[in-house]
Amino acid sequence: MSAALAEALNPAVFWEYRAILLKGLAFNFYVFACAAAAALILGLGAALLRVNRWRALRWAGTLHVEIFRNAPDYVMVVWIHFVLPLLLGLAIGRRLEFPPFLSAVIALGLVYSGYFAETFRAGIQSIPLGQIEAGRACGMPERLILWRVILPQVVRRMLPEAVNQFVSLFKATTIVSLIAVPDLMYQVSMVTQQEMRPLPLYTGAALTYFAIVFLAASLVRAAAERWRQKVYA
């Protein structure tokens, strides 16, 4: 076992392939950034539907949330990559294919929009109605009330939960290797096939992700907490 342990913790292979592995890691961040942006926008949209006056729109919002929040992200990635282009292709009468990166961003963006929608909605509904009426009484149009009164408070309130969701989203980006987005995990399996040394490579990948997620989450949580406290007495 101690020989195996030494092999597992041997950083030499990892170091040797550092250039390509780093490039892979960059893809995790690209996917994360794009999917996070998509998830925030779609999530806000779905949340606004869910607090809408009209029942049909509320329904649409609920449907969006329940579908995507309950879908496993791997299933969603596969469905978006292999099924959605075919369906769209049928609709426009032409063969269609998504590049893996696009599929990954759409799928993860949709799944996490379901989570963000719930966070947004809880935040929006926690704003006392009186504050909104105060805005109306000042002659503020609803859109201005949304941007100036509601959302700034929602963002502050949802921050801790949003950080957790961002962490989950970043971790989920590792599965995009399964549709051949060349992320870190993808490169690790490539190098493994070449070198036939899974121990240091997979252990290294696990430790790398752990270090990134743990450090980033701790830092962001601390910063978010400080920001919240600065503004709220």
Partner: protein
Amino acid sequence: MSSIPAISVVDVHKSFGPLAVLKGVSFDVPRGSVVSMIGASGSGKSTLLRCINHLETPSAGEIYIDGEPMHFRVAGDGQRKPRPIAEINRLRRDLGMVFQQFNLWPHMTVLGNVVEAPRRVRGLKRSEAGELALECLRRVHLLDKAGEYPARLSGGQQQRVAIARALAMQPKAMLFDEATSSLDPELTDEVLAVMRDLARDGTTMIVVTHEMRFAREVSDRVLFLHNGLIEEAGAPEEVFGAPKSERCRQFLSKYLPKYVQ
């Protein structure tokens, strides 16, 4: 010109489903005058005030601000059409509203609360809006708190900020809905003092209140609301001194025992 009242309420009805809360209320508020509205809990005072600035839509009747109908407008063909929300928002700017629960925006500083509407709604420049806001804060004696967040203020201070926020719209009239009801007695006085100053400066005001002494002192006219109707109206000496209606007498006896013979 000066004969047009600042606010004119004409036969306003309001129902929530089967519950008729206002059953035909009419009164005028002449420019520069103070009208107090008293009445038991549930008599419809808040609902009436909220109808006036369209936080509730009246079921029937009309409210005129400076002669302009608030809810409907008369189209070219003489038909009444509900106003689009943008026009209602424009008319709302002429009415400042102060709520029982202050309803300050907690994520903005005191100055931010007061500057917000002049800047974003009336489109004043940052410097103009800032000056205006500071002037309003001076009137409520809170210049020194401009940089604080509302959570750090006492209830009385928060309510004075809310008054400043309403004043900053430079409204034609101010609506107060039980502005002191959620305040401790010591804090009530500082808010009433500000309201008294406003009345003295000739601000047009509708004041819903349970502070009978204050109502008697500052009002030009007092309305007693009962069950969605104006049961009694008159100068404060009349309503408080010699109420004609039995119900009004009963109501006042709870607040001002000495007025009952």
